[in-house]
């Protein structure tokens, strides 16, 4: 019995048409369509595309929620061993759609997923969440991309242990995996140095973290219409710390409602922070999370709305904190909730 695969492609690769047909709504076709043939050939019967989802790129971008719901329903029904999307090469909206829908299938249905695209495709932003095979920057790279994706796809379906990104050919996803190189480290170091000295390209085996600067987002145009959220790394939690956010080692973040709360007070909120002297924050948590002032501004109409939820982390409170991944997660929630700006306070 061969593994069952569902494939996602856009209108162009389904031969419906180019930009002028990018509005087409998702449809489900039986078997493979277009590039799916190349996957099937590579799998040599070990796996097979049972259905193909075709969706216009503009449609996905403009009706993401509906399109996603529809596609998820189909995939759920088909319950394949793997969901594969693309490859999208350098097509930005297609890449975004591939990555987004693959991520949704993985998160919501727990089905294994894989996509492929050019490294600079905006869809590749999700490379820490889903496996993405790097491809050339145009569809001319299909002949290489399809077998590469097919190979990794088969490995995933067989449940084999994933090797390092350079071994199994996926974009580095922030998870370090050991493997044996062909040459010992010192020899690799000498080669790397010689390349560096000759101004030839070289690839570091460990890219230094946290030096990527994120460019500032545009300013809020009209505060009086903006929803603003409060976040803190100062560990403000409801009294009694219901989720047991640890005072020393922050293993999760807190998400708490302040809907209808006019101001924090000693009876309702405290800090779970183990570091600094907690007396001041416990006596008046507004000193860390300024709910009282924000409410006044909301009443005055200076800001549109104070977001109903606030997010809190604790522990490190340090510069390069590992709380990073928590922030990445709740940032998505803030985004979906339509928050326009964030005030983050740190102790």
């Amino acid at each position: 019995m061969s593994y069952r695969v569902v494939h996602y492609i856009n209108q162009f690769f389904a031969n419906i048409g180019g930009e002028e047909m990018a509005h087409v709504a998702p449809e489900l076709r039986e078997g493979f369509v277009g590039p799916g043939l190349a996957f099937n050939q590579s799998w040599k019967g070990e796996a097979e595309i049972v259905a193909t989802v075709v969706c216009g790129d503009s449609h996905f971008a403009e009706h993401e929620k509906e399109a996603q719901e529809q596609i998820l329903a189909w995939v759920k029904e088909l319950n394949p061993d793997l969901f594969i999307a693309g490859p999208a090469f350098n097509a930005g909206r297609y890449g975004y759609a591939c990555a987004t829908i693959a991520n949704a299938v993985k998160e919501q249905l727990g089905i294994k997923v894989l996509t492929g695209m050019y490294e600079e495709n905006p869809g590749a932003d999700l490379k820490d969440k889903i496996l993405i095979v790097p491809t050339a920057n145009s569809a001319a790279g299909m002949r290489k991309a399809a077998p590469a994706m097919a190979k990794l796809a088969l490995k995933l379906m067989k449940g084999e242990k994933l090797g390092a990104s350079c071994e199994d050919n996926y974009m580095p996803n922030g998870i370090r995996v050991n493997f044996f190189e062909k040459e010992r480290g010192s020899k690799r170091a000498v080669k790397m140095l010689l390349n560096k000295l000759a101004d030839k390209p070289f690839v570091t085996e460990y890219p230094m973290p946290s030096f990527d600067r994120v460019a500032p987002n545009p300013a809020v145009k009209d505060l009086s219409k903006a929803t603003i959220a409060l976040c803190t790394s100062g560990g403000i939690v409801p009294k009694g710390n219901p989720d047991h956010i640890e005072s020393s080692s922050a293993s999760h973040y807190g998400e708490y409602s302040i809907a209808g709360v006019e101001a924090l007070c000693e009876a309702t909120h405290e800090t779970a922070h183990g570091g600094y002297d907690p007396v001041y924050a416990n006596a008046d948590a507004n000193r860390v999370l300024p709910v009282d002032v924000m409410r006044e501004f909301e009443r005055e109409g200076k800001i549109g709305k104070l977001h109903d939820l606030f997010y809190t982390t604790v522990g490190n409170g340090t510069a390069v904190a590992s709380a990073k991944k928590f922030a990445a997660e709740y940032a998505q929630k803030l985004l979906q909730a339509g928050v326009n700006a964030v005030i983050m306070t740190s102790t």
Partner: protein, 77 residues
């Protein structure tokens, strides 16, 4: 953390006492605050004065959010 929020496309202002740390974490809009245990307050002040102080700081944070910046910027209070 601020960087992750910024990365998600939401402008963010970091209110932080140790501003060099804020620079290190890659915050783009920074408002310096009072002290580590009470960034937005000062227990030595009367309730009213402390509230006024907090209001001043948060006002500055809102100004930061509505100001276009190109690089890391500290909005002194």
């Amino acid at each position: 953390m601020v960087k992750e929020i910024e990365r998600a496309g939401i402008p963010v202002v970091h209110m932080c006492t140790v501003t060099p740390i804020s620079m290190t974490v890659g915050a783009n809009r920074i408002v310096p605050t009072i002290a580590i245990p009470h960034p937005l307050g000062n227990p030595a002040l009367s309730k009213e004065d402390e509230y006024a102080l907090r209001k001043k700081l948060v006002t500055r944070a809102l100004e930061a959010l509505s100001t276009e910046v190109e690089d890391q910027t500290i909005f002194e209070v």
